[in-house]
């Protein structure tokens, strides 16, 4: 018979404050399978663990039950202790008498004590029937995938590649760079965004270990940590990237042909682009694409068709983009698949770094969204950027004149029950940055900034903020209530001075809205493909807000940057490098452990009915021919040990290791005794 040792924990007063620990211990001691029952103030402390180890070493016990907090955090600790004393670590069972007992029944100590006895008896019943199990290992593919090529994805990819791993970087736009590429200068040091980002982008483009896949999206992710199979769709660019030199000649003719109707996303709609376009001047890779949805097939020269012959000249009528291309990279007559191509890659771990979007101004009807002189802060970044539509000159959109008064409005869609209740974290700082840059360049500019309060928590951030006050920028406490449109696209600001408790009204030439940071709708598609979950603020959910900030509930899948929550560049890069470090762990180990608490088919008992196959939520079961007859077989790397197949098998051919029938019946018997 098994010799069960029982160890009851006080957990300080967490358990002992409610449950009569000595009574529970005495109860355990009287159980027939139990050879020794002890108690300790903190079982997880060194001295607590030593109690267990000593009893094992002395041959007193060969099964261990700890009645304590929760297996979620503490099972690994006790398993390791059991193993270090020379016992198979799966001969350990935990009774949860804190989270599921003392914490939920603080007002009912007597019944809580009784419940603890039942939970303990049930654990003892199971423990005495446990069998030793062995961990299994599978090899990993020593390559990584990073999804999203903003500063987060770039930083993660470079770290992984520098560690020596082949790293695929998948970016949906034609170039990497993300939103940081759209910024003018960056707080708190005011260095130019392009100056610090471009070298990193170039490194990515040239790195021998990085396989850059831009204008591409992840369609499907299958497999598990160490062995993911990923389908990547390379979108149709309609231009031969092997030949394209990035000269931009096609884009130049196309923007004329399309007459400025297509808004340039990179410039936040403040200028037009062509259907044939290059993402932005410093793009990596610098390649043109044709956005087919907007292409008007000039001269009737459609994709996949030979050009028509002109009746007048007898010559072929070739589309201007094709004609303009000096590198012969455009051949519209080719048969293009509009869906592009699918490539399958194999990787061991994945970092998701898909970033964010800023809210559109259209949602805020009280803030005159139809006025051209009301812009989002990201639009202002483009207006003041040297590569922007006005070449870096501050002009207001309605008449391209320099504004005299400029207003900043904080918390637009953030900290607001109607939109997002969270703080977007970066807008206070970037507004102060924009105001400082403008004041430096145009000292006579009148700048009014309206905040609920200023959030400048970060290294050297408060100094940056107080510096703005010293520069003569007007900082006012009180949220702007509304904007009124006056004749000639002028604007009246309805604000409030909290400190003076008086309303404020004035005319402003340009109003900048700090619209909230959020995940785009398309984030759902990637969540479906990868199994990522969302948090209450609708960002991707990390495993633990404090201790697992880059891990997710899917093993082998990690998060970096704003897709996990709003952050500035320093925090984004720190997290991205952290994500790279943890993503490299399985790659460095070269193998991953497979938990042995999974299901297994006894081929000799299986009748081949196949009932289990469609029931498995992880598609882990297939048929295998055993002596000419099909038998179910479970892929141990895909099985998660949920047990659905085990309960459904009419031949009782499937066992779930660690949860065998006699073990579960013993638990039920103890609970219902």
């Amino acid at each position: 018979m098994a010799k069960v040792g029982v160890y009851v924990c006080h957990c300080g007063t967490n358990i002992a404050g409610v449950i009569d620990v000595e009574a529970v211990r005495a109860f355990a001691e009287a159980l027939p399978e139990v050879v020794v029952a002890r108690k300790d103030l903190f079982m997880c402390s060194d001295s607590g663990q030593e109690l267990v180890k000593q009893d094992i070493r002395e041959g007193l016990v060969d099964r261990v039950v700890v009645a304590a907090c929760t297996p979620r955090t503490h099972e690994p600790i006790f398993r390791a202790a059991v193993e270090s004393a020379g016992l198979n670590k799966y001969l350990f069972e935990m009774a949860n008498i804190r989270d599921q007992d003392s914490w939920v029944h603080p007002d009912n100590p007597e019944q809580a004590t009784e419940k603890a006895m039942k939970l303990l008896a049930s654990a003892v019943g199971k423990a005495s029937r446990l069998k030793p199990l062995e961990d299994k290992y599978v090899d990993v593919t020593q390559a990584a995938l990073v999804i999203g090529g903003g500063v987060a994805g770039i930083s993660s990819a470079l770290e992984l590649a520098n560690m020596g791993y082949t790293t695929y970087l998948v970016e949906k736009e034609p170039s990497i760079g993300g939103i940081m590429a759209q910024l003018d200068k960056t707080f708190p040091t005011n260095d130019c965004s392009a100056c610090i980002l471009t070298p990193l982008m170039v490194d990515v483009g040239n790195h021998p270990n990085i396989k850059l896949m831009t204008y591409s999206e992840v369609e499907e992710v299958e497999g598990f940590i160490g062995n993911f199979t990923v389908k990547v769709r390379h979108k149709q660019s309609y231009i031969d990237w092997k030949k394209c030199t990035g000269c931009g000649d096609c884009a130049e003719v196309c923007v004329e042909q399309t007459k400025g109707r297509i808004p340039d996303e990179f410039n936040q709609g403040l200028s037009p682009r062509g259907a044939a376009y290059i993402h932005f001047p410093q793009a990596v890779p610098k390649k043109a694409v044709v956005d087919a949805a907007n292409c008007i097939s000039c001269k009737g020269h459609k994709f996949g068709q030979e050009p028509k012959i002109s009746k007048k000249t007898g010559k072929p009528m070739i589309a201007p983009c094709q004609e303009a291309c000096p590198a012969d990279a455009i051949d519209r007559s080719q048969q293009f698949d509009p869906n592009g191509t699918i490539e399958e890659i194999k990787v061991g771990s994945i970092v998701v770094a898909t970033g964010y979007q800023v809210m559109d101004k259209k949602w805020f009807k009280e803030l005159a969204p139809d006025s051209p002189n009301v812009v989002t802060a990201l639009q202002l970044e483009r207006i003041i950027s040297a590569t922007g539509p006005s070449g870096g000159k501050l002009v207001r959109p309605s008449d391209q004149q320099k504004p005299k008064t400029i207003t900043f409005v904080s918390c637009v869609g953030s900290r607001d029950e109607n939109f997002h209740t969270y703080c977007s974290r970066v807008c206070c700082m970037y507004m102060i940055k924009q105001a400082r840059l403008l004041k430096e360049k145009y000292p006579d500019l009148n700048i009014n900034m309206h905040f609920i309060d200023v959030r400048a928590a970060g290294k050297e951030y408060d100094e940056y903020y107080t510096g703005a006050r010293k520069m003569g920028i007007n900082i006012l406490k009180g949220k702007v209530g509304g904007l009124e449109v006056l004749p000639e696209d002028r604007l009246r600001v309805l604000a409030y001075d909290m400190e003076g408790a008086v309303p404020i009204e004035y005319e402003s030439d340009l109003v900048v809205l700090a619209t909230a940071i959020e995940l785009p709708e398309t984030a759902k598609k990637l969540a479906q493909a990868t199994g990522l979950q969302f948090c209450g603020s609708h960002f991707y959910r990390e495993l633990h807000p404090k201790l697992g900030p880059v891990e997710t509930s899917v093993r082998g899948l990690f998060l970096a940057g704003c897709c996990q929550g709003p952050k500035d560049i320093p925090d984004t890069v720190s997290q991205a490098k952290g994500a790279a470090a943890v993503a490299a762990v399985p790659l460095a180990q070269g193998k991953v452990k497979i938990d042995p608490i999974i299901s297994e088919v006894h081929a000799e008992k299986c009748s081949g009915c196949g009932i289990c196959i469609p029931l498995c939520p992880y598609d882990a079961i297939t048929f295998r021919m055993v002596a000419d007859r099909p038998r179910a077989e479970i892929d141990m790397t895909a099985c998660k040990g949920c047990g659905v197949c085990t309960t459904a098998c009419p031949s009782a051919a499937i066992i779930l290791h660690g949860y065998e029938e006699d073990q579960i019946y013993a638990q039920i018997a103890a609970l219902t005794a």
């Binding site: 029950e417 949220k479 009204e505």
Partner: protein, 171 residues
Amino acid sequence: MSDYIKLDSEKISEGVKTITELGGHGILKCVQCGACSAVCPGVKAGFPVLCRLLIKKVLDGQLEEMIEESSSWGCQACNRCTEVCPQGVRPQEVVFAFRRYQANELAFSTSAITSQMNLHSYGHAVFSDARELRKKVGLAPEAPTSAYNEKAQKEIQTLLENSPMGELGLY
């Protein structure tokens, strides 16, 4: 009022309880952002203790001290504050709760008297003749309100005269 206030937690919770019970349910949700007061026509017209500041004073435990405050009667019930409030406070309801508190205590500022008399005569505390304007935009000149309905006016007068307000001798 003295120049400084003591933060007395009993007075604060008493004030919040009074306002909540009289209909200002959202008062504790206010984060003092000031958006309401930026758009409030009452504040603009010189009644500073409306929405944001009124809430602040209640949250500082100054409900009793404000009993004679006339600002509350400057509220136009326009609800612009409710529309712009990012926290769902519904400041207008707080203002009205405060008015109920004042009325229950029979504390009326002199500025409130005209509006009370208007209420007695037309059924509106603030009333302006909009018939010309309505005609201009193609609406029936007379809105369906007590202002143009003698029977309704009589009923309102009976109600007011028989309420504790009648004892004030305003009408």
